[in-house]
């Protein structure tokens, strides 16, 4: 059960984020919702790569620097490095998207004088 808590957190974060994007009226809150979804997905990737080694948790994935008992007894207890690389890339991309979204929100505020999505409706149906 305790191993499933991160996955439950991931699903909860994604749904909280989707709720914020779909139902919040404020543009900044929508942006925060997207960032919560992104953190959920990043947490998912990190959790995928995590491995358990007895009571002590995972072992750092550096072969030359790992404790010898981990290498000899349970090499599979090493944390996977690939998801960590993926997460780093995804965080960097997330920052770029966040910056772009916030600058758009800023310019929208300049043009419309409000952040309420109900009032930002100049586009026709």
């Amino acid at each position: 059960m305790i191993f499933n808590i991160p996955f439950i957190a991931v699903v909860a974060m994604i749904f909280i984020g989707l709720y914020a994007v779909l139902f919040k009226r404020n543009l900044v809150k929508m942006v925060i919702g997207i960032i919560i979804i992104e953190s959920g997905v990043n947490l998912f990737l990190i959790t995928l790569g995590y491995r358990w080694f007895g009571e002590n948790g995972g072992v750092v994935p550096i072969f030359t620097n790992a404790p010898s008992e981990a290498i000899n007894n349970a090499p599979e207890s090493m944390v996977l490095p690939v998801p960590q690389a993926l997460t780093l890339t995804s965080i960097v991309i997330g920052v770029a998207v966040l910056a772009l979204m916030l600058s758009l929100v800023m310019h929208i505020y300049k043009q419309y004088g409000t952040l309420d999505v109900r009032k930002i409706r100049r586009l026709k149906e």
């Binding site: 994604i14 989707l18 994007v21 543009l27 929508m30 997207i34 979804i37 992104e38 997905v41 998912f44 990737l45 995928l48 690939v82 998801p83 993926l86 890339t89 995804s90 991309i93 770029a96 998207v97 772009l100 979204m101 758009l104 929100v105 310019h107 929208i108 043009q111 419309y112 930002i120 100049r122 586009l123 026709k124």
Partner: protein
């Protein structure tokens, strides 16, 4: 031979390199910058052309980044190109090249153009990367590159509230879509410890998690391609972006379409042809056909009531996306049967025709806007007197987009109708009726823009500058050639692409032989 090995990487690297060189070049002067952008895209299109010939003759080609002797099979970053990738690359690079030529005069009066050209080249690198990559995580990265750049380009007229609104809508949709793609990548990695598409395809179990991943991927990429329930961002961003950007955005949308094809036919290809999963996968096929029909109807019916020139064409573009998905869906339902292949050919050929037909109409809308500074159809009229070439081009575009004989739209739409009729006549009838409606809409537009009495405020309208005429004329020539010699195009360009789709095993085995 040695040179060909590096071309897949070079085709993505040259626009990327050019993008970051553009701000420096634009310090010299504006003309040098425009020539530089066109030159970069010309070199890239030459490389695409060379690589296409090789891939069509010798089968898929891979390029592995980094040391080739490293013994780390599953985590290598690799590009893989096959017939379908090259087919999409031809469309993307042609649209990008013509779009940049068009924007020489079209964007002349705006400032901030060094950023504009940088973003356009980055967008080209992003979409070519999506089409060439053999790795799902890289696909996500290139998807995000194309999202960010196209969003920034949609918001180019930053002093207009509407374009900011459209850009915000677009970035929300594509950020969530891209995160869904990343989540699906995580699901694959959790089960198979692999990231590249061919390895995943060869070990795919089609279990519960794979079904979730399939739904996430199709939902996210279908959303970015403009499939029905989530099409609403498309008219907004197509309508509000500068016309030359809209033209290139068509190619970016179709790169997402390529993602749908790659996932359905390569990654899940084995699962769909396996007899045990026929029941569960048949639901997906009918789902796609249903969504395609809804897309066609929504696109056509919404186009009927538009008064803004570009928004009207954008809704027609939604309808055309529906036709492509109809062809793909019918092809999936009857993959082994004779007409299934016809449907697939029609769908794939229609990707190309949609890009050129809708693209031409957008360029004409841009030309009309350039000449009159008007976007509302109600305030235009009698333009054929002063803009003869544009009027003729519009006739070609409207006939091609509604699928009338001497032009290219007819060929692909006929293939789709033919095969759909054999699956279910009612679907074919709906599709044909929608096409007729499309013709009616565009005849109305032609009449209200180019015909009728001369309006007093539009008396001294002039024909648009040469670079815009060259771009439009080139597409008209392509449309007419495609319409007159459909067999030539289908045999030489479309069939390698559909063969690559149907026989995914050659794509998979190529990577497995290189990597493992």
């Amino acid at each position: 031979m040695n040179f060909l090995e590096f071309t897949p990487a070079l085709i993505v690297a040259i626009p990327l390199f050019g993008a970051f060189l553009t701000p420096i070049i634009s310090k010299i002067n504006e003309k040098a910058r425009n020539i530089f952008a066109i030159l970069i895209l010309l070199i890239t299109s030459c490389l695409v052309f060379i690589l296409t010939q090789d891939v069509f003759a010798n089968g898929p080609r891979t390029y592995i980044f980094g040391d080739s002797n490293l013994a780390l099979p599953v985590v290598r970053i690799l590009f893989e190109v096959d017939g379908l990738s090259m087919f999409m690359a031809i469309i993307s690079i042609t649209l990008a090249l013509l779009g940049v030529i068009y924007s020489w005069s079209f964007m002349k009066e705006n400032d901030g153009l060094d950023k504009y050209y940088t973003l356009v080249l980055l967008l080209v690198a992003g979409m070519l990367g999506m089409e060439f990559t053999g790795d799902l995580f890289n696909f996500f990265v290139f998807l995000e590159i194309s999202c960010i750049t196209s969003c920034a380009l949609i918001a180019f007229y930053i002093n207009k509230g509407e374009s900011l609104e459209a850009a915000f809508k677009y970035i929300v949709i594509s950020a969530i879509g891209a995160l869904f793609v990343l989540f699906a990548v995580g699901l694959f990695y959790a089960q198979y410890n692999a990231l590249n598409m061919a390895t995943i395809a060869s070990v795919l179990q089609f279990g519960f998690l794979d079904k979730i991943a399939l739904i996430l991927l199709i939902a996210a990429l279908g959303m970015k391609a403009g499939l029905a329930p989530m099409h609403m961002w498309l008219p907004d961003s197509y309508g509000e972006a500068p016309t030359s950007v809209t033209f290139i955005l068509i190619a970016a949308t179709q790169a997402s379409l390529y993602g749908v094809l790659r996932i359905l036919f390569t990654i899940y290809g084995n699962a769909f042809t396996n007899i045990e999963f026929v029941f569960s996968s048949a639901i997906i096929h009918w789902f796609i056909i249903g969504l395609a029909l809804i897309t066609i109807l929504i696109g056509v019916l919404m186009a009927l009531i538009q008064t803004d020139f570009k928004r009207l064409i954008a809704f027609a573009a939604v309808a055309e996306i529906g036709y492509i998905f109809l062809g793909i869906g019918v092809g999936l339902t009857s993959l082994g049967v004779g007409y299934g292949k016809t449907a697939l050919e029609g769908g794939v050929f229609h990707i190309m025709n949609d890009a050129f037909d809708i693209g031409l109409l957008f360029l004409i809308a841009g030309a009309v806007y350039y000449a009159t500074k008007e976007t509302s159809l109600n305030k235009m009229g009698g333009l054929a007197r002063n803009m003869k070439y544009t009027a003729v081009f519009f006739i070609v575009g409207l006939l091609a987009v509604s699928g009338l004989p001497p032009f290219n739209g007819f060929v692909s739409k006929l293939l789709i109708y033919e095969s759909t009729y054999q699956l279910n006549p009612i679907i074919a009838i709906i599709a044909i009726l929608a096409s007729i409606l499309l013709l009616a809409i565009f005849v109305k537009v032609f009449y209200s823009v180019f015909m009728g009495p001369e309006l007093p405020n539009l008396k001294d309208v002039k024909e648009v500058p040469k670079s815009m005429l060259v771009a439009m004329g080139a597409i008209v020539v392509i449309i007419i050639i495609f319409g007159l010699f459909p067999n030539l195009i289908i045999n030489n360009i479309v069939q390698p692409a559909t063969n690559a789709l149907v026989n995914s095993s050659s794509y998979i085995s190529k990577v497995l032989s290189v990597v493992v």
